[in-house]
Amino acid sequence: MATTATTFDEAVAVSKPTGGARRGRPGLGRVLAWTALGLIMAVTLFPFYWMLRTAFSNGAFLATEPSNLLPVESTWGAFQRVLGLATTEEAQAQAGSGASVSIIRALLNSVLVASLITAGQVFFGAMAAYAFSRLRWPGRNTVFFVFLTALMVPPIFTQLPNFLLMRDLGLLSSYAAIVLPFFFMTPFAIFFLRQFFLGIPREVEEAARLDGAGAVARFFRVILPMASGPLITLTILQYVQAWGEYLWPLLVASDRDHRVLTVALGVFRSQTPQGAPDWAGLMAATLLAALPVVILFAVFSRKIVNSIGFSGIK
């Protein structure tokens, strides 16, 4: 769903704080407005707190105090359990299933896969965006338009035949199967970077050209450094996207060795059927799965927030 929306640093950065932020006048309306905002923020944050609270609870006692705001019989047990550090007896004593889920393995798989996908998308996307924005060649706009239409094809439509392709290539249950379809191109990355490259003045590149720099040198020494901001933004957005991908990795690589975190979490959830799911363990696992993105966000929040813009605005 994020694929159709694009982002513009400048849209938000350039506009002045004109309309809002009125000072003073602490009327009833303002109090109500702040209350509403506070409420929305509380509802937004509460599930994160509840994840934390449950993860530090002892699963065996969770049902006894379901509404206690603090961890019930607080323990690291759930984390030890999902990280495979607890023995089967220990795990079962805390309402774990005893079956080991290699969350660590899945975590590493996710890091590997998401990093590869992001690196490929951003680098190849930048190359294509450069060709579409700064090099002159016949058919440039036609090809760009064709690439853009790929934005509209729903993923499920290509995923079924892509699954077959992976099967025919004998790549099922491999990292390659998860990575390849996303590695070389995403229309979004090309579109996003092209918009920015178009904004770089021609003179800048012209100077480098007069110094004898060819297209490749100009791309690496002039364009890429100037675009470091959008490149970082795109990297974060695509990493988050790749990290959260579920259906595709589920289709092509759900075996124990290659499953990524999202798939592993799904397996973990279904290992604890009807009776009493290992909620503490599940929340510890989801917390671990959310952690990298939360850290990324803590470091780059300003950049991410400012980059959420709009494909129609310019």
Partner: protein
Amino acid sequence: MALTSRNARTGSVPLSGQGLRPDVNGSRRERLTALAFIAPALLGFTVFYLWPTLRGLYFSFTEFDFFSPPRWVGLDNYTSMFSDAIFWNAMKVTVQYVVINIGTQTVLALLLAVLLHRLTRSIFVRSVVLLPYLISNVVVALVFYWMLDAQIGITNQVLGWIGLDAIPFFGDQNWAIPTIAFINTWRHLGYTALLLFAGMLMIPGDVYEAGRVDGASEWKMFWRITLPLLRPILALVLVITVIGSFQAFDTVAVTTAGGPGDATRVIQYYIFDLAFQRYQYGYASAVSVVLFLILAAVAFVQLKLMRADESDVA
């Protein structure tokens, strides 16, 4: 990628007098360089977008169970859709989901965007509301699966405190779809609000100044200024989110797996179900063609609206 590196290297050798030719189509060397730059993206596009799209279209006219070669059946898959009760149910459920999800999401996001616009410019507030969007669908689904648990979930505990009966959020035919729609509203609210907020920043501040001089209330300014000037952007955001919601899958897969009964078997889950659990690959492809056509229709409306956007804001 031998092609890329070879051409890239020749591309970096400067030819004398190259920069002097004002050729629209670029020099031969520039054309070759451009080809090298888009080669990876072109490869990815052909192999993982174009080819699967054509192949998927072909499969939709065949009977294919993965194991024996596809058998051409003409329009059979499409005609049998008419009498397929599960398909129509999936359509109905998906539309229900889209309507509830878009309704709540748009109203709440508008409220949040106005609060962000008129109350505060805080990056912190914006970061907090965006946070859920960055967490993967699977994690979000699991956290709510836990919080909305019929017996010991915190939500039903709170309902108990205020004297209400426990709600079987995922277990009841009538509650399941609204529940899933609300979960996704929680995840996408901040993102949608930030898109609208970015749109609001485009509205010139002096319009509000003038409004205030005329003694208009905030309420009036919202209906007379913000909403009318935001309309084209609002329409675009709507279309983007409608396209996204039609493809709901992850939350359903992790929480209800289509149940209870067929209550949450949304169209995308039905496609997955057909292909990978019932091995009716050809039929699954046909249903995904129909989904594609629906999304294309939505995209067409989007295009119209973008034109409207030009005439409106100029």
